[in-house]
Structure formats: structure tokens, C-alpha cells
Symmetry: C2
Subunit: 247 residues, 2 copies
């Protein structure tokens, strides 16, 4: 519990390997987590080779973690293995549809997060690279993912070489609703975001990006509508190409 | 690490409440997990009221956990709160698209799984109800979820009143690929599924369902193509209705 509460995302890693035994122990723990019907419809691609990291780095917008972490893990929604099993066992699978993608993606993310918790309990640091869903079409080529397989979460992992300040979180009452959803009034929003907005790192962020509010840094700089729309199109095309849109 | 490796899904709960303090501690740990850009684009609906459980139970196909667990938690992809914040801060959000749904859904599942790990570390048991994505359209009504909010993971939580045998998992080498995806040959499939197929619970499962292979139990009984196709349609309609398909 302490390691869950005190955790920080780690983006700078010491030049020290993660042993095969330790990584296997962590991945085994990840595969013990809940999954749909015990079908385990996910796969994990382990990247250790420097040339593979260099090939993947631009697809992760050249974030330094992509090349500097000893291990990168890409968690994929995967119905390919399950479908092959069915085809060799006189069974006709029906997983070439959107629900099946969502099912497998959820299983993959559950496994990814359990791997993160297991790694952090061993003193390792992790960072999720959200770029994986933006650039799924190209990551599929590099990792040679067949039909039925879509990458949904990438994490970098290594021994921490930094000890960053823990970032803020919204108060619990901003996230949690009792029995039914209680929609937010303006005064709720003001109250819940007050702490975040007055932090010195937030004020610095606004100034550096030449904006007048913190929200504008998100909408105008970090997560622009034009990018979201563009990558929505590429991701939907990936689902079609990988065989998940035949409903 | 031990609790990750030795865990079992718990479907039978003692008649004993989970205190508000303990639940808050667990949810706080969940909210410490990684999320995209620290936007925290998810919400958690807590169900404790018996009438609410009774209303939700049919949508979870009347699985006993839905009415018998002291707490049910529904994790939702939620851009509503973030968008409201933007609108009060002179910022124009652009999250009415598929990429934004996937981003928020991943964040919600990461939080859900961290909550599960935190709960299990306290001796509680959990069970995911995969039915949430099938019946999202009706769960939205009962939980009064506004536009921009989609339920993606439901878990039941309580003090264990059973100690089930730990189920099988595929061998790690069936799940993990080194550097690139190595597609499965027939002999790989035979080897990886051998252990699962010869278990007595699997053989019983085949017999009970009057099938000749274990795979057929999945394709003909548990996860039928007609159901997958039908619920793909309802889920895609939910994404449209909740405002995530405007790319």
C-alpha cells in the first residue's frame, strides 16, 4: 500500500540492466491479474535491443525514456493466439468486432498496470508512453504484430536515477460519486481545481507556454483538437486493418 | 508482490461492511496511479445502496456478486469534468473523439486495477464484471452519467467468504514476445494450451456444456459471435451518444 501511495513516475533511469529473472518474476505477477473468462487475450512485447529502441523512439515522439530505459514493454490486445487455438480445436471464434477489441484492450491494460505495481514494489520506476495509441499503425510494423493484435499501452522501466516531487492529484471528492453521478457546478470546478491551479509548477507552465490559464496549456499546446481528431482517424483505421471492425 | 502472485478472484463475500475510511484509503491509492497528462479523465461511482445494486444486477446478468458484495465500483472514462473546467477557463477542449475515449478508458482501467491491488493488499477480495461494456447504455441511465462519460470497468469488492483454487494461466512464454511478435505455430498452440486443456475443471466444463473441445465452450457458449456483434453495435452507439465519435 505504501508503494502505491508514495509512487512517482520515473523518466530518468540509471545505466543498470534489469535481470531476466527479475523481469520474468514481474511479468508473471502481471499475468496473475484478472482477465476476461481466463482467455488472456493480450500479449507483451519486450524491447531490450538498442536498435529496436531507436526504431521505436520517433513513434514515441523521441521521449528520452524510449531510448534510455533498459526495458520497454508494449502491451497488446491480442485475439490472434486465441483464434489460432480455436481454429485448431474445431471451434469458430467470433472476435473480429469492436466489443472484442475493447475486451482485449481492457485485459491488456489490467496486466500492464499490475506489471507496473509489481515493478515498483521491487524498487524499479516506470513511465507510460501515451503515444502508443497515436502511432499504433507504425508500431505494428516495427513489432511485426499480425492481424488481431493492437498495441494499447507502452511502459518504460528501469532503476530510478531521479527522485521527482510527487505531482498533485484532484481531491478524492472530485473523482468519486456516491450512488449516482453528481454533475459539477462552477463552484465545484473552482474548488476542485484550486490547488492544482495555484501550484508554482502550474504557474510556470502557463508562463512558459504564453497562456492565461492552465486549461489553455492543455487545449492549445499539449492535447490539441486537431491532433486528437487526426489520431482518432489513424486509430480507427488500425482497428479496421487489424480485423476488429466487422460487426 | 506475494499478494499479486497468490491472488484469487473472490465471488462470495462475508456479510460485513467496508468502512468509509478504508474505502477512501483504497480509492486514494487508486488515484495515485499513472494517468494521461495528469488530467485524471475518469470518475468512480460507488454503489452501496441495496436498491441501486438491485437495479444494476440485471445489467450484470444477475451475477450474485452484484447484489451480495458490500461495495460495487464503476470506473468511467470521463471528459465531462475536464471539459467543464476548460469552459470556465477560456479554453476550448477537443475531446469529442475516439482517441479521447480510448485515452480516458485506459486511465479508468489503470485506476481500477490499482484499486483492486490496494484492496487485495488489505485482505479484501474483488471480481471484475465484464458485463459493464455490454450493458453500458443501460448503466448510463441508472448511474445518471452525463455526456462525455462512459462506464468501462465494474468491480465488486468485499471480505472473502471463500478460498477458491487458483485457476491456471498460460505459460509466460505464450504471452511474452522478445523484440518482435513471433506468431504461433500449431505445435506452439498445442504446447501452450496443453496444461489448461487437461485440467479436471476444463474436462468438466466440456462435459457440462456438451462440447468436444474446451475452445468450443468459449465460442459456442460463453462468448458467442452473435452476442459479440450485437454488443459491439450497442457499445459503438454509446460512444456516439456520449459524444466521442465526432472525428
Amino acid at each position: 500500500m505504501d508503494s502505491l501511495v508514495n509512487r512517482r513516475t520515473i523518466r530518468k533511469y540509471a545505466q543498470k540492466e534489469i535481470s531476466e529473472d527479475l523481469l520474468d518474476e514481474i511479468l508473471t505477477a502481471g499475468c496473475r491479474s484478472s482477465n476476461t473468462g481466463n482467455m488472456q487475450v493480450y500479449s507483451i512485447i519486450v524491447t531490450r535491443d538498442q536498435e529496436m529502441k531507436n526504431a521505436l523512439a520517433p513513434l514515441h515522439f523521441n521521449q528520452r525514456m524510449a531510448t534510455e530505459a533498459p526495458v520497454m514493454l508494449t502491451f497488446c490486445a491480442d485475439f490472434n493466439r486465441f483464434n489460432k487455438w480455436c481454429s485448431y480445436r474445431d471451434a469458430e471464434p467470433g472476435h473480429d468486432n469492436f466489443l472484442s477489441f475493447v475486451t482485449a484492450a481492457i485485459d491488456a491494460v489490467i496486466a500492464a498496470q499490475t506489471v507496473c505495481v509489481a515493478a515498483e514494489s521491487k524498487g524499479l520506476g516506470i513511465c507510460y508512453l501515451g503515444t502508443v495509441t497515436y502511432m499504433a499503425h507504425k508500431i505494428i510494423d516495427i513489432l511485426k504484430l499480425p492481424g488481431g493484435v493492437v498495441p494499447v499501452a507502452t511502459i518504460t522501466m528501469g532503476w530510478p536515477d531521479e527522485n521527482p516531487v510527487q505531482p498533485d492529484r484532484l481531491p478524492l471528492e472530485a473523482i468519486v460519486h456516491r450512488e449516482v453521478y453528481h454533475d459539477y457546478t462552477r463552484s465545484d470546478i473552482d474548488r476542485f481545481y484550486r490547488e492544482k491551479e495555484k501550484r508554482s509548477d502550474s504557474l510556470k507552465f502557463i508562463e512558459e507556454n504564453k497562456r492565461t490559464t492552465l486549461a489553455q496549456v492543455f487545449t492549445d499546446v499539449r492535447y490539441k483538437k486537431t491532433d486528437n481528431v487526426y489520431f482518432s482517424g489513424t486509430l480507427l483505421q488500425v482497428l479496421k486493418d487489424q480485423g476488429f471492425m466487422n460487426q
